[in-house]
């Protein structure tokens, strides 16, 4: 009897959650006929936004990897004062409303912002540029990479790198030829998560970079703009975003290194 109650409660919880998560996706997918969907997707505004989204999110992912790896390495292998503060700092964007991030970015890197004068001296004006879109995406996407990469690097047993060092490997060799290959599944998983997050970025972008087709209007912004006078176009764009995001995450699950999604510690594998 007790078991039955537990089972019913469990199924109810699963069903409720599935409803909340899956129903919106399904509703988006079934709203337009395939023909209308294709017709909408061929609109220039959609293609422009798609191109800009891919361009910026890929640039973001590259930047996040290049800038995030050293930080992840530091967090995973070193003990230092202020480590917890640094850890919290790189995690904050996960919980911060993106609009707040956008206001912060404006007040920091806008031309009237804290760093605005210095940037201007270099001839750089960030707001309303594609670069601002990338910065907004980097801001919100970095934590996903760093937490996965940190966990991955931390899970590599010390003896591997120590053995390499004993055998005369330089720290650089040890990192790129021993540590990184062993942590690669988590690093790639983190990169994919960042990419997906960057693709979906909205609040920080519209606040910091503005909303101009071809320059700063990424797909989520185009959805919002289209929603106000062209529901079909908005739905078509949304479907595209759902499919893209779903594919990235599903690809992660099926990738040979797929187990590492979400920063689950990677098991070091012998070679």
């Amino acid at each position: 009897m007790k078991l039955l109650v537990v089972r019913v409660a469990l199924s109810a919880a699963v069903a409720t959650l599935l409803c909340i998560l899956a129903l919106p996706m399904i509703s988006l997918l079934v709203r337009l006929s395939p023909r209308e969907l294709l017709h909408q997707l061929a609109q220039p505004v959609v293609l422009t936004a798609l191109g800009l989204s891919l361009e910026t999110s890929i640039a973001t992912t590259a930047l996040v990897i290049v800038l995030g790896l050293p930080v992840a390495y530091l967090l995973a292998t070193k003990e230092f004062t202020g480590k917890r503060v640094l850890q919290t700092l790189v995690e904050i964007p996960i919980v911060l409303p993106p609009t707040v991030a956008g206001v912060g970015l404006l007040l920091a890197f806008g031309r009237a912002g804290l760093a605005g004068g210095a940037l201007k001296a270099l001839g750089i004006e960030l707001p309303f540029t594609t670069l601002a879109v990338v910065m907004a995406q980097v801001f919100v996407a970095t934590p996903f990479f760093i937490s996965a990469a940190t966990a991955g690097i931390a899970s590599v047993e010390r003896r591997y790198t120590e053995a390499a060092a004993t055998l005369g490997a330089t720290p650089g060799y040890g990192f790129f030829r021993v540590l990184l290959p062993l942590a690669l599944p988590s690093v790639l998983a983190g990169a994919a998560m960042s990419w997906a997050r960057a693709l979906g970025e909205f609040g920080a972008t519209i606040t910091f970079a503005g909303n101009l087709p071809g320059r700063t209007q990424t797909m989520p912004l185009a959805v919002y703009t289209a929603l106000q006078n062209d529901l079909a176009a908005a739905v078509a764009l949304s479907v595209l975003l759902v499919i893209l995001s779903f594919t990235i995450l599903l690809g992660l699950r099926f990738a040979p290194w797929g187990a590492a999604v979400g920063g689950a510690p990677a098991r070091p594998r012998g070679r």
């Binding site: 009237a112 309303f128 101009l212 106000q228």
Partner: protein, 249 residues
Amino acid sequence: MWLVLALLLQQPKHLAVYAAASLSDAFNEMADSLQRRDPDLHIDFNFAGSQVLVLQLGQGAAADVFASADDRWMQTARDSGLIDGTPQTFARNRLVVIVPKGNPARIGKLQDLARSGVKLVLAADAVPAGRYAREAIFRLAWSAGYPPDYSRRVLANVVSYEENVRSVAAKVQLGEADAGFVYVSDVTPAVARQVRRFDLPDTADVIASYPIALVRHSTNTEAAKTFIDFVLSPSGQAVLTKNRFLPGR
């Protein structure tokens, strides 16, 4: 869990007013005086671009009053059967150009908006303020003293189409945009300290008109009517005038 759900679903009987973003200061002030008269009256505002409000009404949002920043979106709402009765124009508003106090692009006259490199921010086309701004730019292009390709060059300077007029004001206020088209009512005392204002010449003087109406599926019609009556009353009109609106008629 049920308690949480019940709390989430249980809505106390509040009056829900859906109003154009430009009305936020004036309507908040009116709500204060209304609530001083009747402490039991609770007014919840939803301020956004009129186009967003119509979208939300169309999706069945539980609103009681709708106040739009142009007749077009009010008409759309009526055509969709969302409105009860005849809307009444309760205010008008004038379009102006604002530049940051520091005037980074050295805008001295409206002709300068066509100079290449000026960072101009407009509200999006669907936003009433965006439509009015375009209209003003096209009218300027036809005015004496403006080059014939004025509108093309000005529109080429747009760096962002914002989702409501208050975001336009904010971008100029922050000094990030060189210029923006907003309503004169958006130049609140706080904004005024940080911007310079250019009035449009008579040839391009675009006047926005604001209709207000009862929402058909209102569950609080009595309070809704009280609110609408107050907006149209001399006291309501005084609040609007104080907030730099022009009278409705």
